[in-house]
C-alpha cells in the first residue's frame, strides 16, 4: 500500500502532482475512458460530426432547405447537387443537414426533460423513502407501462402533431427509467458514511441531498442519456415517417423517407441518404452510450 506510506513522507518528498485527477474523480474517469475506449471514440466522433453539421448547416450549403426549384426536380447526384434533388427540386444534402438540426435539438431537449424529471423524482423518492417513495415510484411504473412511441401517439392524437409536443411526450416517456436508475443509486449512496458525517457536521437535508447524494449518484445517467438520444432519434423518425412528426415543409429524416419511398426505383438517392443519416446518428449515440457503460460500470470493468 504505497498510499499508506504517504503519511510518513516529509514535505518535499510528496509524489509529484501528475495533474491526472485535476477536476475531480469523475472528470478524471471520463477523460481516461475517452483516451482508452475505441467504442467511445468512434461514437463520439459520429455524434460530434452530426452535431457540428447540424449546427453549421447554413454555412455548409448555399441552398435553402425549403426553396422549391421546379426546373430541377429529381436530379441525380451531381456536382451542383451532391446528393441530388427531390420531387420539388430542393437540394437533398441541404435538407439532410437541416434535418440533422431538428433531430439533434428534439433529441437533446427530450433527453434533458427526461433527465430533469427523472433526477427530481428519483432523488426525492430515494432520499425520502417510505410513502413518498412508494407513491412516486408506482406512478413512474404506471407511465413505464406504456411504450414510449405509444405515449407519443397518445399525446399527438390529443394535441395534434408537432415537434414541440413530440419532444415533451418523449421527455415524459423516458423520465421513469431515469427516475428508477437514479433512485437505485440514491438508495445505495445515502448509506455511505460521508452522508452520515455531513449530517453530523450540521448539514441540512437539502444540502446533504444536493451536495453529497446527488453528485455521487448521477454518473449512470450519462450513459442512459446517450442511449436515450438514440431512442429519441429513432422514435422521431418513426413518427415523421407516419406523418405525425415534423410537418411540411420542415426537413426531417423520417418524413423525407416516407416522401420518397414511392420513387425508390427512379430516385434511390432520396431514400438511401436519409436512411443512412438515421443509421449513423443512432449508431453513434448507441456506441457512445455502450462504451461509456462498459467503461464506467465497475462490475463490467472487473472482468476486463
Amino acid at each position: 500500500m504505497s498510499s499508506k506510506q504517504q503519511a510518513y513522507l516529509p514535505d518535499d518528498e510528496l509524489p509529484p502532482d501528475d495533474g491526472r485527477s485535476r477536476g475531480g474523480p469523475l472528470v478524471a474517469e471520463l477523460s481516461y475512458v475517452l483516451r482508452h475506449s475505441r467504442t467511445v471514440q468512434i461514437g463520439l466522433l459520429l455524434v460530434v460530426t452530426l452535431l457540428l453539421l447540424g449546427a453549421f448547416a447554413p454555412l455548409l450549403t448555399s441552398y435553402s432547405p425549403n426553396r422549391i426549384d421546379l426546373a430541377n426536380t429529381l436530379q441525380p447526384p451531381s456536382r451542383t447537387h451532391l446528393l441530388g434533388t427531390d420531387e420539388l427540386g430542393r437540394d437533398e444534402l441541404t435538407r439532410l443537414l437541416y434535418a440533422a438540426r431538428v433531430s439533434m435539438i428534439v433529441g437533446l431537449a427530450a433527453v434533458a426533460i427526461s433527465n430533469v424529471l427523472g433526477v427530481l423524482f428519483g432523488l426525492v423518492a430515494g432520499y425520502a423513502g417510505g410513502v413518498t417513495d412508494n407513491v412516486i415510484m408506482r406512478t413512474m411504473d404506471g407511465i413505464l407501462a406504456f411504450p414510449a412511441l405509444l405515449l407519443a401517439l397518445l399525446v399527438i392524437s390529443v394535441l395534434g402533431p408537432g415537434l414541440l409536443k413530440i419532444l415533451i411526450a418523449f421527455g415524459i416517456a423516458f423520465a421513469p427509467s431515469n427516475a428508477r436508475l437514479l433512485r437505485s443509486m440514491v438508495v445505495s449512496v445515502r448509506e455511505n458514511e460521508y452522508v452520515l458525517a455531513a449530517q453530523a457536521l450540521g448539514a441540512s437535508r437539502t444540502r446533504v441531498m444536493l451536495r453529497y447524494v446527488l453528485p455521487n449518484s448521477v454518473s449512470p445517467l450519462i450513459v442512459s442519456a446517450s442511449l436515450g438520444m438514440g431512442f429519441v432519434i429513432i422514435g422521431l423518425a418513426g413518427l415523421g415517417y407516419l406523418g405525425l412528426g415534423a410537418q411540411p415543409p420542415t426537413a426531417e429524416w423520417g418524413a423525407m423517407l416516407s416522401g420518397s419511398q414511392a420513387r425508390f426505383f427512379t430516385a434511390p438517392w432520396l431514400l438511401i441518404s436519409p436512411g443512412a443519416a438515421i443509421l449513423v446518428a443512432v449508431v453513434g449515440y448507441v456506441l457512445l452510450g455502450d462504451g461509456l457503460r462498459d467503461a464506467l460500470d465497475p462490475r463490467l470493468r472487473q472482468s476486463q
Binding site: 506510506q5 504517504q6 474523480p25 457536521l201 448539514a203 451536495r211 453528485p215
Partner: protein, 333 residues
C-alpha cells in the same frame, strides 16, 4: 469538575417487523468538561447507537423512546426540534467515524469540505474560511496544508483522511468530540499517531471526548473514565485506573482477561468469554450477562442495579455489599 453531558435513561429502540430491537436500553452516563470518557463494549452492545442518539442521528425505524434525556449543558437534546439540533451538530458537539476511507465525499477536494464545515455554522466569508481550513489542516498535523487542501480524498492515505475528518470536526471549536472507533480501520502505527493527536488536541482546545472503542489498549492510553457497556446497558463505570486494577463486574473482568498481554507464550491459553451476546430483540430478564457468567447464582434472575463498589459502580449482585476481590490487570497511565 463541571458536567458537560448527562444522559439519563436513554432508550433507543428499533421497531422492526421481526420485533422491537432494544439496542440501547436505559443508559446513564455523564461526561465532564475537558475529560475523556471511554465507552467500551463488544460489537452490537449499543455503543454506536448511543453516540448517534446524542447527535440525534437515529433514522426510522429507530426511535429515542420518551423518557430518555440527553442533557448537554443543561439543555435536553431529545426535546429539540430538528433545526435546533442542526445548530448543535458540528458546532457544540462534533463526531468522527470509523471509516476514514468512506467518510469524505469523493467528489470534492478535502479543503473545500473542511471549508464547508466552517461555513455551515455562522457567517464566514469564503476567503476567511479557506484561511481557517489551512490553519486547521496544519493543526491536525497534515504537512503542506495549502497543497493538501486541493487534493481529493482518493489521493490521501487512511490516516491523512482521518486527520481531515478531525479537522472538519474541530472547525467550530466543539465542546464535545464524539469519536466512534476512530482508529479501528487504521494500521497500528497510524492508530498511535491519531490517538496522540486526539489527546494533544483535547488538552489544547479544552474539549471533552467521548471515545467509543472495543480496544482496551486504546482505553488504557486515552481514557480518564471508563464506562463498560453490555447488551444495551452500562454494567460498570469508574476511572480507568480503578476499573483496570479492580474490575468489579464479572463482564469487565472477563473482558480484561481475554486481552493478550505482551510476554504471553503460546502455551498459555487466552481466556475467552463463552457463549454469545443475547438477541437484542429479546433480552433475557434479570442480568443480561448471567448466561455467560462464571459467578451466576440465584439472584441473577432479577436485574441488578448499579451498586457503588470501591471507586466504581457495578451492576452486579456480587457488589451489593461493596467491592469484591477480582483480578485486575496492570495499566500504565
Amino acid at each position: 469538575m463541571a458536567e458537560l453531558l448527562r444522559i439519563e435513561n436513554l432508550r433507543t429502540w428499533f421497531r422492526t417487523r421481526s420485533g422491537t430491537v432494544r439496542a440501547v436500553d436505559g443508559v446513564d452516563l455523564h461526561v465532564d468538561h475537558g475529560r475523556t470518557l471511554c465507552l467500551v463494549g463488544e460489537s452490537g452492545c449499543g455503543k454506536s447507537v448511543t453516540a448517534l442518539s446524542i447527535m440525534r442521528l437515529i433514522d426510522p425505524p429507530g426511535r429515542i423512546e420518551p423518557g430518555s434525556r440527553i442533557l448537554f449543558e443543561g439543555r435536553d437534546l431529545v426535546e429539540l426540534r430538528e433545526t435546533a439540533v442542526r445548530q448543535v451538530r458540528g458546532s457544540d458537539i462534533a463526531m468522527i467515524f470509523q471509516e476514514p476511507m468512506s467518510s469524505l465525499n469523493p467528489l470534492y477536494p478535502v479543503g473545500e469540505q473542511v471549508a464547508e464545515a466552517i461555513t455551515a455554522h455562522g457567517e464566514v466569508s469564503r476567503a476567511r474560511a479557506l484561511d481557517r481550513t489551512v490553519e486547521l489542516l496544519g493543526l491536525v498535523g497534515i504537512p503542506s496544508p495549502e497543497r493538501r487542501a486541493k487534493e481529493y480524498p482518493h489521493q490521501m492515505s487512511g490516516g491523512m483522511r482521518q486527520r481531515v475528518m478531525i479537522a472538519m470536526a474541530l472547525s467550530n471549536d466543539p465542546k464535545l468530540l464524539i469519536a466512534d472507533e476512530p482508529t479501528t480501520a487504521l494500521d497500528v502505527t497510524i492508530q498511535a499517531q491519531i490517538l496522540d493527536l486526539l489527546g494533544h488536541l483535547r488538552d489544547r482546545l479544552h474539549m471533552a471526548i467521548l471515545l467509543i472503542t472495543h480496544d482496551l489498549g486504546v482505553v488504557a492510553e486515552m481514557a480518564d473514565d471508563v464506562n463498560v457497556m453490555y447488551a444495551g446497558k452500562i454494567v460498570e463505570r469508574g476511572t480507568v485506573e480503578s476499573t483496570f486494577h479492580h474490575p468489579q463486574h464479572p463482564y469487565t473482568e472477563a473482558l480484561l482477561h481475554s486481552m493478550p498481554v505482551l510476554g504471553m507464550t503460546q502455551d498459555e491459553p487466552l481466556e475467552v468469554i463463552r457463549g454469545i451476546v443475547p438477541n437484542p430483540a429479546a433480552w433475557p430478564s434479570g442480568c443480561r450477562f448471567a448466561s455467560r457468567c462464571d459467578h451466576a447464582f440465584e439472584r441473577c434472575r432479577h436485574e441488578p442495579p448499579l451498586f457503588r463498589a470501591a471507586d466504581q459502580q457495578s451492576a452486579c449482585w456480587l457488589c451489593e455489599d461493596g467491592p469484591r476481590a477480582a483480578a485486575g490487570v496492570a495499566v500504565a497511565t
